[in-house]
Symmetry: C2
Subunit: 345 residues, 2 copies
Amino acid sequence: MRGEPGPKRPVTLDDVARYAGVSQPTASRVLNGSARKVAESYRQRVIEAARELGYTPNLPAQAMARGTSRTIALLVSLIADPYFSAMAAEIMKQAEAVGLHTSIAVTDRQADRELDLVRVLRGQQPRAIILAGSGYIDPPDEQALVDELHRYQDTGGRVVLVSRSDLPFETVDFDNHAGARQLARELARIGYRKCLVLGSGTPLLSMQQRVEGFLDGLIEEGVTDAADHVHHPEFSWKGAREFVLSLTDDQLRELHLVFAVTDDMALGALAGLRERGLRIPEDIGVAGFDDITTLRDVVPTLTTVHVDLHTLAKEAVHRAITPDRDLTRRPAPAYPVLRASTPPH
Amino acid sequence: MRGEPGPKRPVTLDDVARYAGVSQPTASRVLNGSARKVAESYRQRVIEAARELGYTPNLPAQAMARGTSRTIALLVSLIADPYFSAMAAEIMKQAEAVGLHTSIAVTDRQADRELDLVRVLRGQQPRAIILAGSGYIDPPDEQALVDELHRYQDTGGRVVLVSRSDLPFETVDFDNHAGARQLARELARIGYRKCLVLGSGTPLLSMQQRVEGFLDGLIEEGVTDAADHVHHPEFSWKGAREFVLSLTDDQLRELHLVFAVTDDMALGALAGLRERGLRIPEDIGVAGFDDITTLRDVVPTLTTVHVDLHTLAKEAVHRAITPDRDLTRRPAPAYPVLRASTPPH
DNA sequence: TTGTATGCGTTATCAC
DNA sequence: GTGATAACGCATACAA
């Protein structure tokens, strides 16, 4: 039989010290990395004792004693979304690389939840709070959120925004403009000139940059009426599909391509176009942005802009742990990847 | 200008109490849900003070004082995977519903990382540890992991396995056998009889159940040589694709269908089949398991077994917070969804 | 009902 | 180098 019925007390540093026959501070010094040195004989005894007893440091206690934890808090709008889950994975990996644990919370795009969560996360005493992705269902009480984050920052915490810049804090993002611009140029060069551009219904700077980058790219290639075909349906697969379905046959017929500011929307558009009887890519090309991995099985493979998540995550974590604010913006690379959905036109 | 240069001290309960002119325990009783009652006048003053000062409870301190936190720890093998991110999202949502915050860690399928992470998570003093998904790259030191989890359990923590049962702890899972069996029957009835079954190269009970369920279903429909076509390639998109590519033309030609134990593998197989020049579904049908949402854009839409994540997550969280072990297994529903990849044969 | 005193597990500041 | 001792912020048993 294992163990008594009632829950036992967890093994504490005190238990280890007693077992090893040293003082508790000494045990602390050997087990939880202090700068101070400890005699080798003691060191061995303590380590052995900890192993035998199955000691694990009580993190809340450490956090309280140290006044800071080895945790970073990550707030994402969605997690069951290939883009955000990839982002979260990469941020966690980078955090892990510098010895930080990650605590994730999900806002579900609800601004009030976001505020609540920031409050809770602040209570965790994390080293930093990273907010990734925005776009709300309900109108945000921005001032309250900013206040909350300022309080956190005032007590030594760091705030980093990823792929959003709607709040007055440090932000890291992809080079949305350049990526979209380059995509537009490459597409224009292979014959796509009449392009429908689908932006985001909710105003998001990153998405606006993608729209503008794409238009600039077209203009550089001599497309004069580029801006005539920009629309902002609801920011989702569904929104893009429905918008496409709302177009007339004549409008659809004259288009060479649909560019949407995310792969998700591009696929919504693609679904809508098919429902309208158009063949992709024979009748019309489709392009997106993000290069979501799980779309490798979509046929035709989707032309898109690949974003360097790794670099972005690294930069985000770097800023999260670097005390001095380095305000130089170094956007993470984003570059076009032409695939089967946009053969030469 | 906002704030002085140096980091300020966070607002504590003591600050609030002093500001409101009451004792610290009284403030505690008002703000952090005690059973005790507090005079309405005091209550108002405390709440107001907390609001004005921007007080947030220091969670580590609460955890230490209470001896337990309001956190549950979730350990998943991957997060940038549509299946696991959907699972994680659902578990977080259910945890949230009962007032628990979730801390996620990712093992990356490395057994040694899993052991380390369990140790760290244990240090967080979570209410429960949920382990979801298995399948290791390296051979696990199972005993060490079990010991670690037992220690945690002995101190009052709860351990719940989700969709895995390789360890001696409570487990919740889908009804893999029934789902696959039902799928096989429905497919057999519409003419699919020569079926290639792709199981998992790494031995996972859930996957084995899917294989067996599928075979049982075929047998019930009178397919006699069902078991002749079971193979276990590497447990991934890549593994499935490569296995299909390794078949001879003759072998491929006589097949009616490929069933893989996950959608991911099914799509790998589908990619491989196409590379071999087969049309889906005209030449051969394909079916998977999991019904991953992000595959809605795959053409043809994939026949699969839908799994009820919501129910599973609810059950997992329920077990994570319910002290008495209820050992009755109630697998979460899983039922076939026939789509375009398997028209009547 | 309210306040006082104590303890949670750890780190940090000091003497030794 | 090592060991007492005082924090850290909060909850609780107990006294008032």
